[in-house]
């Protein structure tokens, strides 16, 4: 699959082929890889943050209420968060379609 973002000419390619924009991988959505998604049961959650610290894709952020929410743009559905949650508050649910 061609990466359209990388279609630059030799005159417009960045100097030395450096990437000048730090952390621009956020423009690459890895959520498409997912076949299951984590679903949180707030009733069970104790807001310990284990899901956050153990996510290999930095998908989780903490909401104002203190819960941790995974960003489906990046979550690859690995299931670590559900597996490591001490309260079994996360369930992995198969993605539709």
């Amino acid at each position: 699959m061609a990466n359209t973002d990388a279609i630059v000419g030799w005159k417009t390619i960045t100097f030395g082929c450096h990437v000048m924009e730090p952390g621009n991988s956020v423009n690459f959505r890895t959520g498409d890889w997912r076949s299951q998604r984590p679903v949180l049961d707030k009733e069970k959650c104790i807001k310990c943050g284990m899901c956050w610290i153990f996510c290999p894709d930095m998908a989780y952020t903490q909401t104002e209420e203190g819960y941790f929410e995974a960003d489906m743009e990046y979550c690859k559905g690995c299931g670590i968060c559900a597996h490591e949650c001490p309260k079994d508050a996360i369930e992995m649910v198969t993605e539709e379609g």
Binding site: N3, A6, G9, I13, H18, V19
Partner: protein, 392 residues
């Protein structure tokens, strides 16, 4: 003010790297380059030069350190030779496409086997396509001057490419010559401080050396290739300024007694001095012989070479490198393709001489010219010929 001193060429090169205010010098010993870095380490130890001398554990590490140091924004110098240069090989291709302006002096030496510490050009010809700017020095003064010129060109923001100055091992590196050593003030006037276009800096983080996916690899290489082609103008301009400031003029290609010459010898490096003596001798005997010397090897100065040698009937090209199984030596091949199907262009004959420290004497040059004349009349069986080899 500049002062003229009798000095070993290696020490003069170390002086040049010191006067250039080199900041990081990763180096590993190998004959015949060692004197250069030994002297630099002394300058650092004595406080004459404020730099970091890194006594690395191999040449591969030396070049790797150079990449890190140049990317972090320091003026970076190293020197190597032969087996050491070959050990660096994997890394050499990297700073050029990444546009890191490292300066390296290569004391040219043969490659094993059999192991030989003596001079020829096999070590650098293996590295022909690393994408560095490359010059060849003929004598000690030139070695000193070209080293300063290398910093000036490599670090020019329009160029930003690494650069090699080739000097012949022993025949140049270890001889004592009268050399005019420029003063610090003079060098500072010629060489501005290094201001990299990009560097590793937490205040402005960039990613250097990403994965070149197929969509971009060709463009990255093309950008590099065009950059080195475009560097020729800066190279020539920096030589012009050098001439204006210090009175010594350098050109990409030099000619010696080429006016009306039908046969021209083509050389690179220090054997050109003997070649000139040979030309004088042949001229005295009434032969129309001249010499063309290539100083700038990469980017190859095509126009300049055509202008210098295009009128010759015969070019006798001397390669200091034997490429087993090839059609001819690398310089010969370069010139054959340069003149391919150009109407009225000279016939080109390729000779291999001066391998592993074998002297190329005046008589050998005469032999080469004679053979080239004969081949112009009757095509030789072989496309290149090894000169001065014992047939038994």
């Amino acid at each position: 003010m500049a002062k003229r001193v009798g000095i070993e060429v290696s020490i003069a090169i170390a002086e040049a790297a010191k006067l250039a205010r080199s900041e990081v010098i990763p180096a590993y010993p190998i004959t015949p380059q060692t004197h250069i870095v030994e002297h630099l380490s002394e300058f650092v130890a004595s406080g004459e030069l404020d730099a970091e001398f890194i006594p690395v554990e191999s040449e591969h590490a030396a070049m790797s350190c150079c990449c890190g140091s140049s990317a972090a924004g320091a003026r970076t110098f190293t020197s190597s030779s032969s087996q050491g240069l070959s050990l660096m090989s994997e890394i050499l291709y990297i700073p050029s496409t990444m546009r890191l302006p490292i300066v390296m002096v290569v004391a040219n030496r043969a490659l094993s086997a059999p192991i030989s510490i003596w001079n020829d050009h096999q070590d650098i010809m293996v590295q022909r396509d690393i994408g560095w700017i490359q010059t060849f020095a003929e004598n000690g003064q030139e070695a000193f001057d070209l080293t300063l010129h290398a910093f000036r060109v490599a670090e020019d923001r329009r160029v930003s490419l690494p650069m090699i100055v080739n000097i012949d091992g022993f025949t140049l590196s270890h001889v004592i010559e009268p050399i005019e050593i420029l003063s610090q003030e003079e060098v500072d006037g010629y060489l501005p401080p290094f201001k990299p276009r990009y560097k590793l800096d937490p205040k402005k983080p960039i990613t250097m050396g990403p994965v070149g996916i197929p969509e971009v690899y060709t463009e990255a290489k093309m950008a590099h290739s065009e950059a080195i082609k475009a560097s020729k103008r800066v190279i020539i301009k920096a030589w012009q300024e050098f001439a204006d400031m210090f009175g010594r003029q350098y050109n990409p290609v030099e000619t010696y007694r080429c006016e009306d010459a039908d046969v021209m010898l083509v050389t690179m490096g220090s054997i050109s001095e003997t070649a000139m003596t040979a030309v004088d001798k042949m001229r005295e005997a009434g032969q129309q012989v001249g010499l063309v010397r290539i100083r700038l090897w990469r980017p190859f100065p095509s126009q300049e070479f055509r202008r210098a040698a295009g009128k010759a009937k015969v070019l006798a090209v001397i390669d200091r490198c034997l490429p087993p199984g090839a059609v001819c030596g690398p310089v010969g091949a370069e010139l054959r393709s340069l003149f391919y199907k150009v109407p009225g262009s000279p016939k080109i004959f390729s000779f291999v001489a001066g391998l592993g420290g074998r002297d190329v004497t005046v008589e050998r040059f005469e032999e080469i010219v004679d053979k080239a004349r004969a081949y112009a009349k009757k095509r030789p069986r072989e496309l290149f010929e090894v000169i001065g080899v014992r047939e038994k």
